[in-house]
Amino acid sequence: MSTVDLEVSIGRLTLKNPVMVASGTFGYGSEYAGFVDVNAIGAVVTKGISIYPTDGNSAPRIVETPSGMLNAIGLQNPGFEVFEREKMPFLRKLRSKTIVNFFGSTVEEYAELAGRLDTVEGVDALEVNISCPNIKRGGLAFGADPQTAASVTRAVLRRTDKPVIVKLSPNVTDIVEIARAVADTGVDGITLINTLRGMAIDYRSGRALLGNVIGGLSGPAIRPVAVRAVYEVAQALDVSIIGCGGIVEWPDAVEFLRAGACALQVGSATFRKPSAAMEVLQGLEVFLKKAGHAMVGDLVSTVKVHGGGHP
């Protein structure tokens, strides 16, 4: 077996390998440090932060669904200052890169927080969440319209020299249109996808199973939607794509690479198995070696489309 170069670039950001953990599913890294080798993966994407602390939604906040789960955390976070003081020291020590996911409720808040994060040592890139379905103001609204998405992105880019990734929502009529508007700003990469808007009800009591009623669907259930979004954007645009949505095992990661992603985020699967991301990485490396590929890029956008259908 040959050796494989696992390094990947997402615009100006270089990772030692393409596997990350998705925002909101790995806390601020330290939570999982006792169980798994966090240093093995390419990057930790933090739980989304805002300028000021946010309480989040009322309980219940999660519920299981067929091959997936709904969450309505409501972007609970301790705010920028506590984040910098209490969460960054652990993240700085990691050999994996740190990507800080963040959100605001106005364009100005996004820009302001980007500016503050710009000065934080150890933050390797920013991931702009314009796609969270769980908050009333901001969030999804920014990700649902190409002009707004682009203006948030531009505002962020103006305030930071760090690489910027924008995370998009699948809850739109035409994701390519949004992605194009964002890519045209010169952003370093696009993460596809955040959760699908969903809901569940206890049939017996009639109670909505989330305090916030509507939440975000994640897990393998949504993988076909995520792979489709990656494929559509990769076919249409020349931008680095980070694939996310329902990756549980390494073959799922290969699927995203072939669809057009150049890097990956493992999300809810970590709840089933803390080592999910690390196992995806290992499996991917072995697959690449066995297939004789020299680098991750050899798989990117290698999906073959059928001709005909006649035998």
């Binding site: 309980a59 906040r61 709840f271 089933r272």
Partner: protein, 266 residues
């Protein structure tokens, strides 16, 4: 102790009450370097099916007893899909285990009288606490209620160790007829236990009633809470509940044990 993520082996499986199973697991890693879980801590079990993503999430269970130098017992009520799958496990089967998780009960000084209050499956962690107390020479009193006699888990083992047990059933089929909180109210009327430590686990309504009582009698009460969990270790923020103060707390790592007055108000 530090939690671990490991594969456990089912070593025993027994029905203890209607739809209620005792499952013993061998999980050496939980006991390495002489560490051991504390009463009130819990574990997450799963993936429930290795070859299927439905059901998707792991399930939390209190540690019910330590039954050997490398073994723990869980008490599992079969209430839905996940617990049905767990209930069909047989000795020799293996499954993922993450734990021990959570903070556990504040272990009271041996001099204090101890009152334990259990509603239904809430008895699970209180067995562990009672046994540890007995081992330290404390003889706690356990008030234990359930819907009816066939839902009660046998307590003779505890009694043999010196725990005094008072039972309550909603339908009067065993012990006091009524809620365990009512039984407790009756008992506490007759006895003054001002410096007693108390721990309760069970449905929210019961915990609220017991907290009211504790407030009136000056009992020092801790309650163990439940909520839906995804990660079990503080990362997903899915298990957060809001205390009476308005502050959000993660049940999996800020709890599951809280001071009753923090939860329900002073």
């Amino acid at each position: 102790m530090e939690a671990v993520h490991t594969q456990a082996e089912v070593t025993k499986r027994r029905t203890l009450a209607r739809s209620t199973l005792l499952i013993e697991l061998r999980a050496e890693d939980l006991f390495k370097n002489g560490q051991r879980p504390a009463p009130g801590q819990f574990v997450m079990l799963g993936p429930l099916k290795e070859d299927s993503t439905d059901p998707f999430l792991n399930r939390p269970f209190s540690i019910h007893r330590l039954s050997g130098p490398d073994r723990l017992e869980l008490l599992i009520a079969v209430v839905g899909r996940g617990t049905t799958i767990l209930g069909s496990l047989m000795p020799g089967d293996r499954l993922g285990l993450l734990g021990p998780l959570g903070n556990g009960f504040t272990f009271p000084e041996p001099s204090r009288p101890v009152v334990l209050v259990a509603g239904g499956l809430g008895v699970a962690p209180l067995f562990f606490l009672a046994e540890e107390l007995c081992a330290c020479g404390v003889q706690p009193r356990l008030f234990y209620g359930a819907g009816s006699v066939d839902l009660l888990v046998p307590t003779d083992g505890l009694q043999a160790q010196g725990v005094s047990v008072k039972l309550a059933t909603d339908d009067g089929s065993a012990g006091f007829a009524g809620f365990v909180s009512e039984l407790l109210a009756q008992e506490l009327l007759n006895q003054e236990t001002p410096d007693a430590y108390s721990a309760a686990c069970g449905p929210m309504d019961m915990l609220r009633a017991v907290t009211d009582l504790a407030r009136n009698r000056g009992l020092d009460l801790e309650v163990s809470l439940e909520s839906r969990m995804a990660c079990g270790l503080g990362a997903c923020l899915g298990c957060t509940v809001f205390l009476s103060t308005g502050a959000g707390r993660r049940i999996c790592c800020d709890g599951p044990v809280f001071r009753a007055r923090e939860v329900f108000g002073p």
